[in-house]
């Protein structure tokens, strides 16, 4: 069963004070997210990511279209007992302590009293807030608030978790912890749908990604398929700052960084490059085939011209086939 089926959701706002004019925030969106996968929803700021999430959460009403979440209508309030949501840059009731906040959200999610007490302690420990659970949230740093936000999203043990820019405001260690947490959620069989504009996070975490820009879906694909495309070039890295002349003769583009040299050259020159390094008694560190990065794919999709009718049909086909459109 699909965890999320978005069936042509679209949103047009009326903007302006006197003469209202329509502004389309999201073109008809067709997207399917399978159960148990980590799905990245990528796009630059203002692309329509948050609008999509808000519509799925029932915070914003779509102009047209519908969606199904965990096999039920997305407007069904009972569906919400099985989903968790972390908004972008979350802000909570700052007069509450972290413990009180989670207890309140547990009550609203229908977690029974006995389980709630245990779950609150568990998630506080999971996000590393146990030591500050009695502190009012107004004294929390941005990173701590983000952790509290993640805690409230997973508190009621949801089957499906939506994270809107979950790494926002976190330091490198915090980001790493969130990545680990998302992987743990996947291992627990949960579906994770998260929006981000940080491509390295998406590449490290996601099974599949969708790219959106200016309210239009530009592409959907499996990250493994994307990054497995070999470009016919290899990257050779060796120790030192010396670039042998024979290496340049092979057509390598060399870059010296600190005490290592990185050279990119055609794959068929790989053996000749190794021989050249061996002759100069240079220590080889690595040879890696160059693959298409998510960044390259993202940039390519950003450059695609907007089509007025949307890309729904083409993308649905691509999802079924598990390939990149």
């Amino acid at each position: 069963m699909a965890a999320i089926e978005i069936l042509g959701l679209e949103k047009t706002y009326l903007v302006g004070f006197w003469r209202k004019r329509p502004k389309r925030a999201l073109q008809p969106l067709h997207l399917t997210v399978e159960e148990g996968e980590i799905f990245g929803y990528l796009g630059p700021n203002g692309a329509g990511k948050t609008t999509t999430l808000k519509m799925l959460m029932g915070l914003v009403f779509p102009t047209a279209g519908s969606a199904r979440i965990l096999g039920r209508e997305w407007t069904d309030p009972e569906v919400k007992a099985q989903i968790g949501f972390l908004p972008e840059q979350p802000y909570f009731y700052d007069y509450l302590t972290a413990h009180e906040l989670l207890d309140y959200y547990g009550q609203l999610s229908g977690v029974p009293g006995k389980d709630r007490k245990r779950r609150v302690e568990e998630v506080l420990q999971r996000v590393g807030l146990t030591d500050v659970k009695g502190l009012q949230l107004r004294k929390f740093s941005k990173g701590m608030l983000q952790r509290a936000g993640i805690a409230q999203a997973i508190l009621h043990n949801p089957k499906l978790v939506f994270f809107d820019e979950p790494m926002s405001g976190l330091d490198p260690l915090g980001r790493r912890e969130v990545r680990d947490l998302m992987e743990q959620l996947k291992q627990e069989g949960k579906t994770v749908f998260f929006s981000t504009h940080i491509l390295s996070d998406a590449e490290a975490l996601c099974d599949r990604v969708a790219i959106i820009n200016k309210g239009e879906l530009r592409g959907v694909g499996a990250v493994a398929d994307l990054t497995s495309t070999v470009q016919g070039r290899v990257e050779v890295v060796w120790q030192g700052t010396l670039v042998p002349a024979s290496m340049k003769a092979l057509g390598a583009e060399c870059h010296v960084t600190g005490d290592t040299v990185r050279a990119v050259l055609p794959e068929n020159q790989q053996d000749a490059a190794i021989d050249a390094l061996r002759r100069e008694r240079i220590r080889l560190i690595a040879i890696t085939p160059l693959r298409t990065s998510l960044e390259a794919y993202f940039v390519e999709k950003m450059q695609v011209e907007t089509t007025p009718a949307g890309t729904g049909e083409k993308l649905q086909h691509s999802q079924t086939a598990g390939k990149i459109s």
Partner: protein, 257 residues
């Protein structure tokens, strides 16, 4: 139902932890205390002055608290996005509004209780004992609570579509106009044509706070009868239900951008 109770409890907790609330209560109690002083220099009418001033303080400060807290109940939650993590749970929008209403109403009932203790304390200080007519003060306090219920529902109604500042302006204006509702009805009866039609419509549309104000009568030991108690109760409940329904209808359709 339980979700309404949880939202109401949290609203109550928010109000209780708001320092501004204590400033207002302290000020109201101070005013009740001042009634003692004014009472002492008002020969033979100490009771009248204490009851009048004390109950007016309870009413006015309660209205200020209701408006001050009520105007931010919905708009502040939207502005600060705290609403997102509430409505993304199995909470219906109407449950949120009704929960907020009961939370604010509960806060005001508790405030009224403590301020009433201040009034009775002041009365005991000047009169040295309670007399039978003092029980009528309880009826006046009950009417004040009914007044608060209407104010709460109106601030919630305004808060569901307007900014806190505009909500405060609307709510306070309605409170002032409603306090002169009887005069407005009198004016409507004397006027003609469009003015009569307009004044009559306005008189019946605005909340009739003058009917709920029996402070002066109670101070003069002319307590309201059972019929007025019943009428005012039904009126306040009906008006509150209507305003609350309006708030729900607006909020159910609102996009939380």
């Amino acid at each position: 139902m339980s979700r309404i109770v949880y939202i109401a409890s949290n609203t109550f907790r928010e109000a209780v932890r708001d320092r501004v609330l204590y400033n207002l209560i302290a000020f109201a109690l101070l005013l009740s205390g001042a009634a003692i002083f004014v009472g002492q220099i008002s020969i033979d009418i100490e009771r009248l002055v204490v009851v009048n001033l004390g109950l007016t303080a309870v009413s006015l400060f309660g209205v200020v608290i209701a408006i001050f807290i009520g105007i931010g109940l919905v708009s502040k939650e939207i502005e600060k996005r705290t609403l997102y993590t509430v409505l993304s749970r199995p909470v219906r929008r109407w449950e949120f509004i009704v929960g907020k209403f009961f939370g604010l109403a509960g806060t005001l009932v508790v405030n009224t209780f403590f301020m009433a203790i201040g009034v009775f304390g002041a009365l005991l200080y000047v009169a040295h004992k309670f007399s039978r007519p003092d029980a009528q003060i309880l009826v006046a306090l009950y009417f004040i609570v009914l007044e608060f219920l209407i104010i709460c529902s109106l601030t919630l109604l305004f808060s569901s579509f307007s900014t806190p500042l505009m909500s405060a302006v609307f709510a306070f204006s309605l409170f002032v106009i409603g306090s002169f509702a009887d005069d407005l009805r009198g004016f409507a009866g004397l006027s003609h044509g469009f003015t009569r039609w307009f004044a009559t419509g306005a008189a019946y549309l605005v909340p009739n706070f003058s009917a709920l104000n029996v402070i002066s009568a109670v101070a003069h030991q002319h307590g309201p009868g059972l019929q007025l108690i019943l009428q005012n109760s039904l009126y306040a409940l009906f008006y509150t239900a209507m305003a609350l329904s309006g708030a729900v209808l607006i909020f159910e359709r609102r996009n939380l951008k």
